[in-house]
């Protein structure tokens, strides 16, 4: 399990570099390192479904970032940061950090599924009746398409709406200039 913690440290270091670096290409490569490290983490936690989805979406995201962003959108932050802004940010981060530590102390230990300890927990039903009621051998598929099918339908609706909006905004035909009259 030591490799798990090494991967976590690697992902955190990559995230810090991605935020701090000035070069846009380095930042994109660090984002890719975060994604692939996260995929390996999911694989070590025995969640191959999530690992496959993570690595595939990461590849697509990297392609979009490199091909469609870097070549034409040179965004740089050149302003000097004011002193008051630094103090303000530090205070907010400290408040969030203290609240996070207080929440973490109430959590169960890492790796112990607390929600399956109860006698009438829903996961018992998922494990025992999943194959009989939904017909899926993979218990993840039986949850996301059977017991929690509403979630998947909502996710498909969200994606449908988002892509429709994106393709309408980014279209090439049918656009007119600002002072052009309506035809």
């Amino acid at each position: 399990m030591i490799i798990f913690y090494i991967l976590i440290v690697f992902v955190i270091i990559a995230a810090l570099i991605a935020v701090e670096t000035k070069n846009l290409l380095s930042a994109v490569i660090c984002v890719g390192a975060i994604g692939f490290g996260g995929s390996l983490l999911f694989l070590l936690l025995r969640a191959p479904d999530i690992a496959i989805t993570q690595i595939v979406v990461e590849v697509l995201g990297l392609i979009i970032l490199i091909r469609a962003t870097i070549a034409r959108d040179m965004t740089f932050i050149s302003d000097d940061i004011e002193f008051f802004k630094v103090i303000f940010t530090m205070v907010i981060i400290m408040i969030i950090g203290i609240a996070g530590i207080m929440v973490f102390e109430t959590l169960p230990d890492f790796g112990i599924p607390a929600f399956t300890q109860a006698d009438d927990a829903a996961s018992h039903t998922y494990i025992s009746d999943g194959l009989k009621e939904t017909g899926a051998g993979n218990i993840v598929a039986s949850v996301i398409l059977g017991f929690r099918g509403y979630d998947t339908l909502g996710e498909a609706t969200v994606l449908f709406t988002a892509i429709t909006g994106a393709t309408v905004i980014l279209r090439r035909k049918g656009k007119k200039k600002l002072n052009e009259p309506d035809s």
């Binding site: 846009l24 697509l60 091909r67 017909g135």
Partner: protein, 168 residues
């Protein structure tokens, strides 16, 4: 002045961007074979989604990635000739509509919204057709996700600002 200097600095460090004619002959040959394998792997991931790891979302993204590889290697016009924008849009509407219809058909046949009314009709459970509506839902989600992501990449590689665009 400062901004211009930064722009000229970044021009030297930016990537060599492939033109719309595509890349070299080596990349074209390799990617024309790899595209088929990636497409087959996507179909495998979709169809085995209710038996093993995978599913409609990941398989759909892999299908989109095979066309993205084609677009990067051969240029945008070639990919748009293979899978036109209107056909991709139709596939994407049809995927979403099919999933909704499968969900609604559960009410008259199965008694509840999204119920699996086809379970065991085409074969035993734990075979590829025994999952009832689950493989059909996976295929519908894959069409929805794959075609929509392909459309997004196509739109992002078309959209540009001013006359400095190299992709047109």
């Amino acid at each position: 002045m400062k901004k211009e200097k930064q722009n000229s600095d970044t021009q030297q460090t930016s990537l060599p961007v492939p033109s719309s004619q595509g890349m070299t002959i080596v990349v074209k040959t390799v990617s024309s074979w790899l595209k088929v394998l990636i497409f087959l792997f996507g179909i495998y991931i979709i169809l085995s989604g209710d038996l093993g790891p995978g599913g409609g979302f990941a398989g759909g993204v892999i299908l989109a990635l095979s066309y993205v590889l084609l677009m990067l290697a051969f240029g945008r016009e070639f990919a748009e000739k293979n899978l036109p924008r209107t056909l991709a849009a139709r596939l994407y509407y049809c995927g979403a509509l099919t999933f909704a219809i499968i969900a609604i058909l559960g009410i008259p046949f199965g008694g509840a919204f999204l119920s699996n009314f086809l379970i065991g009709k085409f074969g035993e459970p734990l075979t590829i057709l025994g999952g009832g509506t689950l493989p059909l839902s996976n295929i519908a989600i894959a069409f929805n996700v794959g075609a929509s992501l392909y459309l997004v990449i196509l739109s992002l590689s078309v959209c540009c600002k001013g006359k400095e665009c190299k992709f047109e």
